[in-house]
Amino acid sequence: EDKVVQSPLSLVVHEGDTVTLNCSYEVTNFRSLLWYKQEKKAPTFLFMLTSSGIEKKSGRLSSILDKKELFSILNITATQTGDSAIYLCAETATGNQFYFGTGTSLTVIP
């Protein structure tokens, strides 16, 4: 069965720090990897990655995929308290399902 593992499970940093969140996956027939931010209930979409080595960037957030080593990282630079959330990684294959990891809980302290 396909599996997505995220690390660390939780992280506490100070405002201004840079963080790196990890997502590794085991998959057959990989199609894409997605990152979501979940602040209260509804996860909101951040990035979708399909190709290795191409960085996607949005403001202080960036992400990259390594299809050879089967992992992705999400970087957040100059963290702010508003970045506090659970960050979810999900992988899709050629079937119907999106396989989600358990998430990384990030807390940014002022």
Binding site: V4, R31, L34, Y36, K40, K41, A42, P43, T44, F45, M48, L88, A90, T92, G95, N96, Q97, F98, Y99, F100, G101, T102, G103
Partner: protein, 112 residues
Amino acid sequence: GAGVSQSPSNKVTEKGKDVELRCDPISGHTALYWYRQSLGQGLEFLIYFQGNSAPDKSGLPSDRFSAERTGGSVSTLTIQRTQQEDSAVYLCASSVAKNIQYFGAGTRLSVL
């Protein structure tokens, strides 16, 4: 509406009662997913609807769980004879085919 709408936002019920959770997807989105998120856990896939195709029910945890999607739009997730372990946040998401999913705010179900 502009986004995925779920109702109710919170539901408290007694063990053994049936509950219905509603999801109104983004207009034009052909795919609809239901997930369950227990405290401190990731999203557990429950069921997937795509257009008029037969739904993928492979994630439903027991025969007490069922879902319908009427007219290719609104979906209802029904849990019969609720148990305390059914307590969780139930999230609905919609997408165009199997592309990026857009989530609703979820229904927090508490079974006493």
